[in-house]
Amino acid sequence: MPEMIKESKSKKILSIIGKAAVYLIMGIFAFMTLYPIFWLIMNSFKTTREFQVSQLALPKSPTLQNYVGAWQIGDFSLLFPNSILYTLGATVGIIFLSLLAGFAFAKLKSKATKPIYNSFIMGILLTTQTLMIPLFLEVNLLGIYNTRFAVLLVYIGAGLPIGIYLSTEYIRAIPSAVVESARIDGAGFFRIFLSIIVPMSVPVATTLAILNITNTWNEFALINILVSKTELKSLPLGIYKFSGSLSSDYGKQFAALTIGMVPMLAFYIIFRKQITKGVAAGAIKG
């Protein structure tokens, strides 16, 4: 008997040590995640001179001057509305076109479904960034370099494969009887789409919105080759400006990085549950 108690006691100690180790490892990871972000935001309120003297202490007299300067240098009053336009435009476009095609793939009969649907699936694995040089040449060939249209076109095209995959799978799970009975009642396919399929597809549309809003807002590689005019640029391009000759002006650089980071942080804090679900469902990498 005493031996058994002893054994269970040593087991308990072992499991406590194990638990502590797990907490320690995950704690280090969590610290490495949160501290750089905190450090960045905190230092954005210091003057560059104060930053050069002390990088770890809290700002002595917090200043907003960096934000004023960064906002002007980065032309953020132009870029912010652009980012919103690109993000909303691409997201709405992807959702609408994906649901539309998804409905056709899932509920309308055609021999074309298999090859076309499979070509979209292949596109999930083929990332658009790989194609940025031919894309750049293509938009020049079509005469749409430096247009918002080209940016939206490319963003929508890049988001369609995963969008169509998720919508088709989702709409397939809707009973066909729903569509058939509406057909018997004399409804056209577009009526059925708008009044039955779209309302029933809100969950998958939410997932797509979550995935595309973060991806599009943060996208850099493609828009970098699609536009060169400041009035067409998005936030990541403006932030990149602070990497070259401006990078020694740490105060402004940190303010610019914070401006770029905060909208998505806020979005994440508000929609964390949906984002987590969307990632698990979509599992795409930007």
Binding site: A104, K109, T127
Partner: protein, 387 residues
């Protein structure tokens, strides 16, 4: 919309079923074509274009009606394969793939398991925090870590403040041994020994100059002496993480691990939570330990997810661009170039070489598909066995 409008017109000539058939066909194409056209423009056409241009001598400018260009053979491919910088970039991409598949995935899996098995409390907190890097723009992440690894970053400050403190502690020891602030020969000599030859080099006559310097502090708190000597003698350490060519890839790989591990955590955790709780519980009742539950229930149930995650990691790694672009831009002297940056520089830096850049683009597409096929084959061979 046109199909619904014209349906009555067709109805005059057709029976109900064939009218309905035509309506369905028209609706089908009206629904597919907008998406498919955009998809062809953004994905298929660029691939065709890159095939054509990679075997051409196109050198920029108007594609039609400009300077004449035509077939030039497979010269561009040969040049890519002969270019040592291509192999350097490919090597760096392989490092990224390795860190993704053997770093992010296992770490994400282990963290997910810690949360799933309730080894740690507050599941929402860990998930929520570890995913944060994913939602920040890669450009922000790249510039942020560039600063952190730079001589002006917190790493340098922590290391330097430790060095200063150590030095000051030794100074304190010297003065304490002498019974407080003192200008005796013994104390001066000990300080000079402490700072070493490189510290002494700032004086023309170390013994006299140091005594002069110290005597100027007479009457002031001794902490002032420590601070002044600390600033004067402790050499600042300047980190070279991103400027030394043999280690510059390491910070990039670290940031990639830092950034995406949380995504795999969420992916794996969501799929672990789909496993029927009763299966796990009854296995435990039958005496299965943690390792056996992992081996015979969790791993088989997640094998599909793991393969999927590996495919995503591979295709994502091959296309990554912005992080390296922001963090090092491929430098110092090109050692951290990855394929996408190697391609970008060939097209946009200096004299554009479009055939070469397009050849690289196609090579990347092919590598991507090759690796994906390989993963699928591995899955067919070894996965699913357990089910």
């Amino acid at each position: 919309m046109s199909s619904t409008l014209s349906a009555p017109f067709w109805g005059v000539f057709m029976t109900y079923s064939s009218k309905s058939y035509i309506e369905e066909k028209r609706a089908y194409w009206a629904m597919i074509l907008p998406a498919f056209t955009i998809y062809l423009l953004v994905m298929a056409f660029p691939i065709v274009l890159s095939i054509v241009l990679s075997v051409s001598n196109y050198s920029g400018g108007k594609m039609f009606g400009g300077e004449k260009w035509g077939f030039a053979g497979f010269d561009a491919y040969l040049r890519v394969f002969r270019d040592p910088w291509f192999w350097n970039a490919l090597k760096n991409n392989i490092y990224i793939v390795l860190v993704s598949v053997f770093g992010q995935l296992p770490l994400g899996f282990i963290f997910a398991y810690f949360i799933y098995a309730k080894i740690v409390k507050a599941p929402e907190f860990w998930q929520g925090v570890l995913y944060v890097p994913n939602i920040i723009s890669v450009i922000v992440v790249g510039l942020l870590w560039q600063t952190i690894f730079s001589p002006h970053g917190p790493i340098a400050e922590v290391i330097n403040s430790i060095r200063v403190r150590e030095f000051q502690n030794q100074l304190r020891g010297i003065f304490n041994a002498a019974g407080g602030f003192s200008l005796s020969d013994d104390v001066i000599q000990k300080i000079l020994d402490l700072v070493g030859p490189s510290g002494q080099a700032i004086f023309s006559d170390p013994l006299i100059d140091l005594r002069d310097l110290l005597s100027s502090f007479h009457g002031e708190p001794i902490e002032e002496v420590y601070n002044a000597l600390g600033n004067l003698f402790v050499q600042k350490w300047s980190p070279t993480f991103l400027t030394k060519s043999n280690i510059a890839m390491l910070p990039i790989l670290f940031v990639i691990l830092w950034m995406y591990t949380g995504m795999y955590l969420i992916l794996f955790l969501a799929n672990m939570q789909k496993i029927d709780v009763q299966i796990v519980e009854s296995a435990r009742i039958d005496g299965a330990n943690e390792g056996q539950v992992m081996r015979y229930i969790i791993l088989p149930a997640l094998s599909g997810t793991i393969v999927n995650a590996a495919i995503l990691a591979i295709s994502g790694s091959l296309s990554s661009f912005a992080l390296v672009f922001a963090m090092t831009g491929g430098g110092p002297s090109r050692v951290t170039e990855i394929l996408s940056i190697y391609m970008y520089n060939n097209a946009f830096l200096g004299r554009p070489n479009f055939p070469l850049a397009n050849a690289i683009s196609l090579i990347m597409v092919l590598i991507s598909f090759g690796l994906i096929l390989l993963t699928k084959a591995v899955e067919k061979r070894y996965g699913g066995k357990e089910e």
